[in-house]
Structure formats: structure tokens, C-alpha cells
Symmetry: C2
Subunit: 122 residues, 2 copies
DNA sequence: TTGACATATTCCACTATCGGTATATGTTGT
DNA sequence: ACAACATATACCGATAGTGGAATATGTCAA
């Protein structure tokens, strides 16, 4: 098993740069596939496939208008991600890292176990 | 090319459930690998490998103490993710989705192009 | 009904990632 | 110097994800 299935996990769906770009492109409102293809400079099948993934995790929804398909963002589906990162937000807002750095300097820090590059991080 | 390399993209690094769990386990402060192995109930090599990935994207850092290695979270590395999701936050906070639903109902919505399941989303 | 158009799906080959096992590296204590 | 310990890395087999090209589905217009 390699990773939680892309099609079932929002985190995975968003891990793909193209799909993030797609979501960004949908921030303005409904957009037909053809326009997405243009903006993304990607072959149409790829776009459709990416949209398919986003649909499966409910990050986007679409409706048919004539032969076109208008996609729109379903922002609330991003909440799990936001919630998850937010739990860590305090840790960089509260400047706890300063204490962290202190601890770091106490003993000589080895950031990269193999290659011992910088000794003073951040 | 399948996806942006796990080792170079924070989004990808975090896409793995085990790695998210690892990060969560480090929220309390520095933790030696052995303890992580215990908590995760995963073979030690897996844990080390996951830690390796997290290290490469600078989500965690570590220092050596005797033969142990103490890992700690580098929370600021999560900022890109937080920043990205936050750009969408307004869209679910502002109840714009209500308007969205309205648009949805105007024409019969087809959420799943192939399998036409529910017609009324959310 | 036929053809143009818009989009989705299938098939294929390639690569990256993951889990598992074995082994290497490095450190402490004797 | 050697053994025990802690952790990292290398190797392997399996598999899922991606891009690309071809094709299927569905809709409109004549």
C-alpha cells in the first residue's frame, strides 16, 4: 500500500501541484473545463482526470450546462486540512521557537544525521 | 513523473498519514526515536524513513544525545500549507456557500458525472 | 441521423513510494 | 577492542499515481 488513496484523502488530493492550481483557478467562481484547460496549459484529459480526483474528495462540484460542465469549488472540504495545520499554528506564532533554538544550542545540533551541514538552524 | 517529489514538497510530506501522526507526536517537545517507534506501533526502519522525509522538508529537526536522537517539530515549516488553505478560508466562513447552493439548485446539479448519485449536494 | 463539439474514461508505460527485511553506522560501556 | 544498543540506510517486491494517446459518452445543431 503506497499512501492513503489519493481519491479518498483530501490531504493527498491536494498534494498534487496541478490540483492545487486547479482549485486556485476555481476561486473566482464557476469555470467550464475548456477554460481550465487553457489556463493550466495542460492536455484536456489530464485536467479532466485531476478534476475527477477533486470531485471524489468533494473538493469540487460541477453542473452541466449544455455540453459544457461548470466546475466550482467546494471550499468547506478544505476544513480538515485547515483544522489540522491550525493545531500547530500556535507553535510558530508564540515564538516558542526561541526557546527551541535555545535548547538547540545547548548541545551541538546535528540537523542532518548523515551530512553534518549547518550547526545553527533557522 | 508521479507527483512532486515527496522529499521536496511539504504538501506531499504531509500527505502520508503516518507522517502526520509523527508530527502530532512531536507536538509535546523533543522525543527520541525509540519512543516514537513505541507510540506509532511501527517497525523502527519505517519510522526512521518517515523521519528522514520530514527532515528533508525541514518539518522536523534532531539532535544527538548519546546514542539517542531527539527529534523535535519545526512548526514554521508548516506555514506554506497554512497560508495556502487560509486563502480559501474566507469562502466557507462568509457563508458564500449559501449563494453557491442557490446557483446549484437553479439547474439540476450533477455532482458525479458518471454515476449520478445524489442530486442535492451538501 | 449525422457531424461537430465538450468532456470523461480507458489503456499503457514509467516512476516513485511504501512496507519488510537485512545490514550499516555510530555510540557507550566494559 | 568488543559487545550491546540506537538509529539510519540499502535492497527488494508490490502497487498506485501520473502523463500521454486513443477512444467513449453525451449534447447540440443542421
Amino acid at each position: 500500500m503506497a499512501r492513503a488513496a489519493t481519491t479518498s484523502d483530501v490531504f493527498n488530493a491536494v498534494a498534487e501541484p496541478c490540483r492545487r492550481e486547479l482549485l486556485a483557478a476555481l476561486r473566482g467562481g464557476e469555470v467550464p473545463v475548456a477554460e481550465l484547460v487553457q489556463r493550466m496549459r495542460l492536455p484536456q484529459p489530464q485536467v479532466s482526470k485531476h478534476l475527477g480526483v477533486l470531485r471524489q474528495v468533494d473538493l469540487v462540484r460541477c453542473r452541466s450546462v449544455g455540453r459544457q460542465r461548470l466546475y466550482r469549488l467546494n471550499a468547506p472540504a478544505l476544513r480538515p486540512i485547515h483544522a489540522w495545520v491550525s493545531e500547530f499554528e500556535a507553535m510558530w506564532n508564540a515564538r516558542l521557537d526561541r526557546l527551541d533554538d535555545y535548547v538547540t544550542q545547548l548541545s551541538n545540533t546535528t540537523t542532518e544525521p548523515g551530512t553534518d551541514t549547518r550547526r545553527n538552524d533557522r
